[in-house]
């Protein structure tokens, strides 16, 4: 029986604010355990939260970038549960009135474009981190992360394949990065996703029983977890068994999921409005100002590259998926207007260098110098081999491409008299090759060209050499 997969994502993103959500502590990753906390984020008796306005603005920015509506009046609520990483034994979050709601994000997967609904985006605080003593001597707690502002982005169950889930997660990551809302350091946990997945026989209207997999922190993990979970659920149904509603832990290294032992599903969070905070009132001017501060988003940029710059869709997609690359591309094209050339070099040679040597390469190189180099190459002033050589060196040293080309004498030599005299000399010095050519061995032409190019230290213009060599040989044959 064919099955349909139904997926919804809940994405947690830490906001890139200067301070924590309710106190003046720095919002920073890492540091000595418990070095970045205060009585407020430790939930000490008598302390009160004060909402960070910047966090509200960032959350609204994310909402607007995902086409959400913004609640003019929303509120914070308490989600009550005991766990040592939560200093107050409740998390301040938003329950029934989220800051942003009813949006969508466009995705393109399996050759189709569709919108995935965003049900809500709400603001909340992060918890601390538990570290279990490897010697089994107990558990240590680091509260540096407690009180870091988070948004939770809840999608509608509009996703129909593991691939779509991955693409949506990628798109949301790019949006968060473009807007500066989140630094998206997934290895540091600043962006993570929970997957809700169910399957149903194709054509059935009602949803199947769903399971949840928590804290997936890579695109690949999301796609693989979805694939494995869909397979597991379908196999259960095929055997006539039932899917149990539960939370599962995905082990990406083993490519398997396990049911979590905690009785999470049965917890009663006893939500109620946070009495220590006043309602969040957002006026239209603020929304307008935030809207104006949102840069061109990846989707729009991609379309512009395809339609206006005539970059192939596949390339445009790769360039825009990472804001740093996209900005680099944009800068470079201000210097060299052969967009396709810049895009080709960026996607092959530059990304190869980044892969080999890391992101620093781009800072050394700069989009300006990369653009200049592309101009030299585009005008035919240097050969492809020289351009690659210059790119390698500049990305190491940061030297100006122009002076480097000068110093290494890489400019293509086009002096007609000089090239002609070299051609004549090469023909004179290689009678064997010439006679081979005459007897119809075309390979000999290539050999002679190579000799000329070598005399020019590789900086010859192949077209010119070809033309002059052909003329010379022809004159000999007459």
């Amino acid at each position: 029986m064919p099955y349909e997969i139904v997926i919804g994502l809940e994405i947690h993103a830490e906001l890139n604010t200067k301070s924590k959500i309710f106190c003046g502590c720095k919002n920073e990753f890492g540091g000595e355990p418990n070095s970045n906390c205060c009585p407020v984020c430790l939930g000490m008796p008598g302390t009160l939260p004060v909402l960070n306005k910047e966090a509200v603005i960032y959350a609204i920015k994310a909402g607007l970038a995902m086409n959400c509506r913004i609640s003019e009046v929303s509120k914070m609520d308490r989600k009550n549960y005991f766990y040592p990483d939560m200093p107050k034994a409740y998390q301040v979050s938003q329950y029934d009135i989220p800051l942003c709601y009813d949006g969508y994000v466009e995705i393109e997967a399996d050759g189709q474009t569709k919108n995935i609904g965003i049900e809500r985006i709400h603001l909340e605080e992060d918890a601390g981190k538990l570290m279990h003593d490897p010697n089994g001597q107990g558990t240590l707690i680091d509260y540096n992360r407690a009180g870091v502002p988070l948004i939770e982005i809840v999608t509608r169950p509009d996703i129909r394949s593991p691939k779509e889930a991955r693409v949506l997660f990628e798109n949301i990551k790019s949006i968060l990065e473009y807007t500066g809302v989140c630094d998206c350091q997934m290895q540091e946990g600043s962006l993570r996703a929970d997957v809700n997945l169910s399957v149903r026989p194709t054509g059935q209207e009602t949803l199947g029983t769903r399971t949840e997999m928590k804290n997936l922190n890579s695109f690949r993990a999301v796609e693989r977890a979805c694939e494995a979970e869909a397979k597991r659920q379908i196999e259960l149904l095929e055997k006539g068994l039932k899917v149990v509603q539960e939370t599962r832990r995905w082990d990406d290294s083993k490519q398997e999921s396990y049911p979590m032992r905690e009785k999470e599903e049965s917890l009663d969070y006893r939500f109620f409005p946070e009495p220590d905070l006043v309602p969040i009132v957002v006026d239209k001017t603020l929304i307008k100002n935030i809207k104006a501060s949102i840069p061109e988003l990846p989707g729009a940029r991609k379309k512009r590259y395809i339609n206006e710059l005539e970059i192939p869709a596949y390339d445009a997609n790769i360039i825009t998926s990472d804001m740093k690359i996209a900005d680099f591309f944009e800068e470079a094209t201000k210097v060299c207007s052969n967009y396709k050339l810049v895009s080709n070099w960026l996607l092959t040679d530059l990304l190869r260098l980044v892969k080999e040597k890391g992101q620093d390469v781009m800072q050394k190189l700069t989009a300006q110098k990369f653009g200049e180099l592309m101009v030299y190459y585009d005008k035919g002033e240097i050969s492809q081999a020289s351009a690659k050589k210059v790119l390698d060196i500049v990305s190491e040293t940061g030297e100006e491409p122009g002076s480097l080309i000068e110093r290494l004498e890489l400019k293509v030599q086009r002096d007609e008299n000089l090239v002609e005299s070299i051609v004549k000399k090469v023909v004179q010095d290689n009678p064997k090759a010439v006679s081979d050519y005459k007897s119809g061995k075309t390979k000999a032409f290539g050999f002679l060209m190579g000799r000329v190019m070598a005399q020019l230290k590789g900086n010859g213009d192949p077209e010119q050499i070809k033309r002059l060599l052909t003329r010379e040989l022809k004159s000999l044959m007459e």
């Binding site: 009585p39 430790l42 000490m44 008796p45 200093p87 034994a89 409740y90 009663d268 109620f272």
Partner: protein
């Protein structure tokens, strides 16, 4: 020189005229505490060294001849649910028996800046839950008027310390009557300010949407003096209100000519001590003789006060007190073998009976399946009560009402054994917290047992000035009552 039971205003004058030194004054109170605290048990912690140091500093300020605050050099004490930097803050609970906060409540800092001299921390019902100050890990507070009787609660220590002359003024908090009722029981003045007028930062939360800090003083003028120093916006408390400075002493002795006083029938039709009823009617009558007019008014929804108050306050308390889990601060059971046991044992042993009762009540009221019928419904009733008060106070300037059905009751009696009876007695006071309004308790003399009778005046939000004005007029009529001094 007699300084027994002098007001802030009087002491301030004596300090400025060099009739007494700040250190001498502080020693006077410290000696009183040493002599009488054993019987009254109103102090949990006395900080003698700090008090003397502060007194010396205050004396320097006085000697400098500069314009000093009226509270400079005045010894005061603080209910033990306000955090005080480097001074143990217990909430009268075993849970916080050894808790020393690294910060002070905003209003304590304000008083410190004015040169007031902190004497120590005052006994109370554990976490503010109770009306007799008998629910304390440190033992009950006794009424200075008669030590067989309770001092009221939860701020019993704050009221008793004043009546026994163990402090010049005190700070207290009021969630459902905790300032007004002990003030009435001990014959002192107590103000529950408008919600949001005084910062709650550093006040250990019982029920956040109801808790309000306020002063207890010997007379109404003192109350205005202290409120002048502690009121105002605090960036550390999001619900505190941005408002410019208002001098609460202005017009305090203007009298009551033309003031419209409402007497809510739903309060006066209830069953409470005839002597109290008589005293209030008499006071109202005399106010009318001074130009006020009284009206019978109706607040039909206040009959739902008690269930509404106990659901909301307990719900918030269940969440506010969840942080006492034995992990970061407070009592931790040493024998717990795992996390569940750590929570269970620490909280079972660290909290007293009444606190646990409220946590269970509040957890139940918020739990799914009961929330709609209890918590959510209580929020609607709260809105109703609040609107009725607001509407009535458009028509009259203030309301007068009893504070409690009786004067102080016997210590160790039935009241603690029957929580429901105890809860029902909060009807007059808790409605005011639900509505977020200000209310002032003033003494009206003594009953036949020689125990103080109190009355509360309830006003519009942020109209504390009018309460002082009316309270001042009543004080002139009824006179002050001081233990051991015939009025």
């Amino acid at each position: 020189m007699n300084i027994y039971s002098r007001t802030i205003k009087e002491i301030n004058k004596m300090l400025i005229n060099r009739e007494i030194g700040a250190v001498e004054l502080t020693r006077y109170f410290l000696d009183n505490i040493k002599r009488k605290n054993k019987e009254i048990n109103c102090y949990i912690t006395v900080c003698e060294d700090k008090a003397l140091r502060k007194a010396e500093e205050a004396q320097k300020l006085i000697d400098s001849g500069e314009n000093i605050s009226p509270l400079c050099g005045i010894p005061y004490a603080v209910k033990d649910n306000f955090c005080t930097e480097n001074i143990r803050t217990t909430c009268a609970s075993k849970m916080l028996e050894n808790f020393i906060p690294p910060y002070s409540a905003t209003i304590v800092n304000k008083l410190e800046e004015k040169g007031a001299v902190i004497l120590g921390k005052l006994n109370m019902d554990e976490f503010g839950m109770g009306c007799s100050s008998e629910n304390s890990f440190f033992g009950p507070v006794y009424n200075p008027w008669n030590q067989e009787y309770v001092a009221g609660g939860s701020s019993g220590g704050s009221a008793a310390a004043l009546a026994a002359d163990l402090a010049g003024f005190t700070l207290a908090s009021d969630t459902g009557g905790s300032i007004r009722q002990p003030a009435a029981f001990c014959g002192v003045v107590g103000l529950k300010p408008t919600y949001g007028l005084v910062s709650r930062h550093g006040l250990i939360a019982f029920a956040s949407s109801l808790d309000q800090a306020g002063p207890m003083t010997r007379d109404v003028t003192d109350c205005a003096i202290v409120l002048n120093e502690i009121a105002g916006y605090d960036p550390m408390d999001s619900v505190s209100v941005r408002k410019g400075f208002e001098n609460y002493l202005d017009g305090i002795d203007r009298g009551v000519d033309g003031i419209k006083i409402g007497m809510p029938e739903e309060f006066f039709n209830t069953d409470f001590a005839p002597e109290i009823k008589e005293a209030i009617f008499k006071a109202a009558e005399e106010l009318c003789q001074h130009g006020a007019r009284s009206y019978e008014v109706s607040l039909p929804s206040v009959k739902h006060t008690v269930p509404c108050y106990y659901i909301i306050s307990s719900a918030e308390a269940s969440s506010n007190l969840a942080r006492y889990d034995g992990i970061r601060f407070g009592y931790r059971n040493p024998d717990a073998r795992n996390l569940d046991e750590l929570y269970k044992f620490s909280r079972s042993e660290g909290f007293g009976k009444e606190v646990k009762r409220r946590i269970i009540l509040g957890t139940f009221a918020l739990s799914s399946g009961h929330n709609d019928k209890l918590y959510s419904k209580a929020l609607k009733v709260r809105r109703l009560i609040s609107d009725e008060f607001k509407n009535i106070l458009e028509k009259v300037d203030c309301l007068v009402a009893p504070v409690y059905p009786t004067t102080a009751f016997k210590a160790g009696g039935d009241n603690c054994k029957d929580p429901l009876k105890m809860y029902l007695s909060d009807i007059y006071t808790a409605a005011v917290n639900l509505a977020g309004l200000p209310a002032l308790t003033v003494p009206l003399g003594l009953d036949s047992k020689g125990l103080p009778i109190g009355m509360q005046i309830i006003g519009k939000a942020f109209c504390e000035k009018l309460l002082f004005q009316v309270g001042h007029a009543i004080e002139k009529i009824a006179g002050r009552i001081i233990p051991g001094v015939k009025s």
